[in-house]
Symmetry: C2
Subunit: 207 residues, 2 copies
């Protein structure tokens, strides 16, 4: 039986693309004192660049295209890979799939997402274009717990980024991404340090 007070929490990261937030989580997890480590990178796109980075770093990877498959079935395969990797937590990092309520319920309190806006502002897509169009002076990113309501779970942390008068959505997105890379690993580490160790005695008592 693992000693949760001493072992690092194990995190699976779900991606659909380049995976820079995943890379941030992975490299931060290797710094001294991190309470977690990334043990799996999983994707719905076998061509996702981040999979190569993970494999190169010796981290397990899993990819299963979602096309031609029921949502429940795809979620189940992703979940099985997560369990096989021994992951305690899931970090969504640019994973462009809506998860089924059953899956979300099962990982309640153990699944986080990062969203490129200062939630509750701008859930959904095109967040930076919408913030610029609205005349906002700041944008940012939010890390939140995942619930059935899209981008609406409890916010665990935010990073603000100034919007400049001449900003384009692309320029703004590049700067917000730099802030995201600082936000996500810290919020995940803080959350895990708080929740993972607090749950350990309970988990032990139930076994």
């Amino acid at each position: 039986m693992p000693d949760r007070h001493r072992d690092k929490a194990k995190v699976a990261v779900f991606i659909s693309g380049v995976g820079t937030n995943m890379a941030a989580l992975l490299y931060a997890g290797r710094q001294p004192g991190s309470p977690y480590e990334v043990v799996l990178v999983a994707s719905n796109d076998p061509e996702a660049q981040g999979l190569d980075l993970a494999r190169g770093e010796g981290v397990a990877s899993f990819a299963k295209p979602h096309r031609g498959m029921a949502r429940e079935q795809h979620d189940a395969l992703m979940e099985q890979a997560t369990i096989d990797a021994g992951a305690d937590y899931i970090a969504l990092a640019g994973y462009m799939r809506i998860l089924t309520p059953v899956f979300v319920a099962r990982w309640k309190g153990r699944m986080l997402n990062i969203h490129p806006s200062l939630l509750p502002l701008y859930p959904g897509l095109d967040t930076h274009a919408r913030a610029i169009a609205a005349g906002d002076t700041k944008a940012g990113a939010t890390v939140h717990l995942v619930t059935d309501e899209l981008d609406m779970g409890e916010a665990l942390g935010r990073a603000e980024v100034a919007i400049r008068p001449d900003d384009t959505p692309e320029n703004l997105a590049a700067r917000v991404r730099l802030a995201e890379h600082q936000l996500y690993p810290r919020v995940l580490a803080d959350y895990i340090a708080r929740v993972h160790q607090a749950q350990a005695p309970l988990a032990g008592a139930m076994q």
Copy 2:
């Protein structure tokens, strides 16, 4: 008199280019619990992109081209801007100037640099091409204290990045940069938490 046990340490970041490590330091410094904040971004190139990011974020900036000026004079202007901003520490982040020994001596123990190799391997330039040419299986970055010997001060922290069989220096550099963005803010924060507060009683006693 500032209470160093409560105040955040103030950091000036010197850059010459895009300044993504500077941005990492800046945004990390704004996360809850950070023991430091970035109060100045200074450059020898008025066109350095990072200056715009700093200004947009409301951080003081300073730029002075080094051409046609003695090295001592340019260092002195950079130092004056640093002092004017109230900075206790200098973080070099892609600052492509060799500093004068007088300047280095004055900031001994209070000036850090990040170098894109696993020092003591590959000080100097073209580190990733040299690591690939040598057949190394890993590259990385090192944060170190700045001394008169180029890239040879005490190492405070390292991040390793796997080299892939098909790697180019450019691809490798992009991945190392993601690791650097996790490394530098953590090492700076740890160093400041250790040194800045430890020095406070001494500083108080001497005043």
